[in-house]
Amino acid sequence: MISVLLRSLGEPSNGRATHISHQRPGRRPTWLTTLLGFVAAFVAILAVNGTAMAQNGEETVGGTMRAKDAAGEKIFVEGVEFSVVDVDGNEVGTATTDAEGVWLVELPGPGVYSVLLDTETLQGFELRNPDKNPLTGVEVQPSTNKNTLFPLGERVVGESNSIRAVQLFVDGIKLGMIIAMCAIGLSLIYGTTGLTNFAHGEMVTFGAMTAFVFHVTWQIDFLGTWMTSLAFGAVMAVLFAGIAGGLFNRFVWKPLRNRGASLISALVVSIGLSIFFRYVFLYQFGGRAGFYRDYRIGQQVEFFGLFTMLRKDIFIVVFSALVLVGIGAALSRTRVGKAMRAVSDNRDLAESSGIDVEQVIRYVWIVGSALAGLGGVLFGLTENINWEMGFRLLLLMFAGVTLGGLGTAYGALLGSIIAGVFIQMSTLIIPGDMKNVGALMALIIILLVRPQGLLGRAERIG
């Protein structure tokens, strides 16, 4: 019985009846148009193939200085100095790594060079192969960029475990807030339409890549250089993600709802779209990771001798805290916010008390996707931008949302932050490269112990 009730909660059983009465007699062409639209979009994607990360035609030598921090997380080492010497021993150029650890020296021509790393500038790291510095016999072919590798070992300075725990806790809060920002939409979409949207992660990637395209690839600046700033890129990401969410609701999910498609087939549709868009991103941007250009506020700030944060991370934490508080206030104070929660809670009751459910769903899609886009920009700022970043994040979102209670807005917030902290703190025990395993394990354990989540209502869900 309860399951029937729940089903009516998620699936618009009486909503379906009202929609059918609105339907035009010829409804076959509607989905035919959608189908044709998809095919057209697909062809267009193949035709408009921009390679985002192009190379220049001259000879260069360069590389990326990567290392692992205390949490086992990959970081980039800024300020490492290199000098490049040709076969005759003449120095042809020097370079210093930027905030993304990248260094590049332009060469006079193809040939054999040697690269010397100034170990004084290594910021406390050690070279894993000290005898391979200088790196000799670096052959550079015509019009290529020769990549050199200087593997780094652990940072020499050790930290005590309790201090590391505080540091990881702070990192976890940051990650948790980003997850939360992305996950609110996931949870609200689930609450209002019953759809477990597996394509939500691609909205995150879409946001990050939109910002990247404006900030790095195109750099349109006909109204001034502020147009190439990351802030403008982020605004565009929010805008485009919101529009994309609205369009998806209008042209994919609303027709599906109107046709009375089951939630399961809608779920499979979302999975199909997720794969499709993930590989569209790979097709367009390639498999390499991208970084936001000149985000060079790489200084570390120390707090009470307990933990350090990059300045951009402080910005991320403060900014996302403001956004999340704003969302929380909007959900509890504004009419639309209240309507969203009402529809999530009980769709039939909300509809019968005069709330325009379709309109609420539209807002949920737009706002949820816009937030996912913004979350994508922030996630891209802390790690890197790649084609499957959203899909990776999606599983963490599921962990957070399930922990907080599927379909509840505040639950998504709380659960995601706990998940973020859990992910980072788990590296105290398990190796850093397996930290996501901790969160996914936690997801399974939560379902065993408290399947309705922390803020969900205790009722039979089955």
């Binding site: 019985m1 399951s3 729940l6 089903r7 699936e11 989905w31 959608t34 189908l35 998809f38 697909f42 994607i45 193949l46 035709a47 193939n49 477990t196 599906l256 498609a261 089951s262 939630l263 399961i264 087939s265 809608a266 779920l267 499979v268 549709v269 979302s270 999975i271 199909g272 779209l273 997720s274 794969i275 499709f276 868009f277 993930r278 590989y279 569209v280 790979l282 097709y283 899909f391 599983l395 599921f398 962990a399 399930t402 190796p431 490269d433 397996m434 996501n436 395993v437 996914l440 394990m441 997801l443 399974i444 354990i445 379902l447 065993l448 399947p451 869900i461 089955g462």
Partner: protein, 346 residues
């Protein structure tokens, strides 16, 4: 454009190793989804279970046991032990991990957890941490476990068979695979006709009704999850033997989605559907893949539109688009019955 190789690749897709692997996995998924209504999105982990069960037994666990306990198990003993571990032990463990928390809950919880388990397994197996790498060899994967299998091959390794489609070893694998597939489909057919199978269908149609008739739905769902997982494991094992390597990236989440496309294209809930579905999917994929590759190589398709590496990505795009469109417009697939099996809400 070399039409010969395009046609050849089409036929390899229709009847070759990939078809066998994915047909077996889809038979398993059909038991999960088509007959019991379980949303398993982690079929890849069952396939990986088969591959790694065999590979670890022969390449790492077995030799370690020989060293530490002074046993003297030969490679062929380990091979048969590995088949048992890969087909029975690992899938049962994974099915229990997935099933115990979720089979009492609504269907989509199982979907989330199955994906999560598949990711957990993949991340752990490819971890470079020495204590794990010792057993799984990180992202390079394990090799050297398929020798016993190919030693049994009656075909010459020098010649090509079946209109030059397969080498001797491939021919042996494909014939064994066809045999396994035929046995699997028969088992599936018999099971579904049995009282046990009727209970599964009853659970799919209305779990509450099945429960009220005194059937332990939880237990039946668990049995179906395990059995379907076993079919997936057999498929994964054949895949690993075919490649002669068990590698974590051969079992990414997208592999599961390929299986789903094969099943839904054929029509969930029909015995032959997964086989026909997998054959069509791989025929079409191989055809489009080789066609585009040849087109790029012959510069019929200009490089500004598509490069060689991008061809492989188009396959996934088609797959995703196909899955979405099928689910939206023809959820019952080719053979399915819309009334009986329309991916209905459970």
């Amino acid at each position: 454009m070399d039409w010969g190789s395009i046609i050849e690749s089409l036929f390899r897709g229709l009847i070759g190793e990939s078809f066998i692997v994915f047909a077996l996995a889809a038979i398993g998924l059909n038991l999960h989804f088509g007959y019991t209504g379980l949303l398993n999105f982690g079929q890849a982990v069952f396939m990986a279970a088969g591959a790694y069960g065999l590979a670890m037994m022969v390449a790492t666990i077995g030799p370690a046991a020989n060293r530490n306990f002074g046993w003297d198990l030969s490679e062929s003993t380990l091979f048969w032990l590995g088949i048992f571990v890969g087909v029975v032990v690992f899938p049962v463990v994974f099915a229990l991990i997935m099933g115990i928390p979720t089979l009492r809950l609504r269907a989509d919880y199982l979907a989330i957890v199955t994906i999560a388990v598949a990711e957990i397994f993949r991340i752990v197996v490819r971890s470079p941490t020495p204590s794990i790498k010792k057993w799984t060899n990180s992202s390079d994967g394990l090799t050297g476990f398929s020798g016993t299998f190919y030693d049994m091959s009656p075909f010459s390794t020098q010649d090509r068979y079946l209109f030059n489609l397969f080498t001797g070893n491939q021919m042996f694998l494909v014939i064994v695979g066809w045999g396994v597939l035929a046995i699997g489909a028969t088992i599936c057919w018999l099971l579904i006709r049995s009282p046990w199978g009727r209970v599964l269908k009853a659970i799919r149609e209305d779990e509450d009704a099945a429960r009220s008739l005194g059937k332990n739905a939880y237990s039946y769902k668990m049995q179906a999850l395990i059995l379907g997982g076993v079919f997936g494991a057999v498929g994964g094992m054949i895949r690993a033997i075919g490649f002669s390597v068990a590698q974590p990236d051969n079992f990414i989440t997208d592999v599961t989605f390929f299986v789903w496309v094969a099943l839904i294209l054929g029509g969930a809930g029909k015995v032959l559907a997964p086989i026909v579905g997998a054959s069509l999917v791989y025929g079409l994929l191989n055809f489009s893949d080789t066609f585009l590759r040849e087109g790029v190589a012959a510069e019929v398709i200009p490089e500004s539109i598509m490069t060689g590496t991008q061809v492989g990505q188009v396959r996934f795009m088609l797959m995703g688009l196909g899955l979405a469109l099928l689910a939206a417009f023809r959820p019952q697939g080719i053979f399915g019955n819309k009334e009986e099996m329309a991916l209905d809400d459970r």
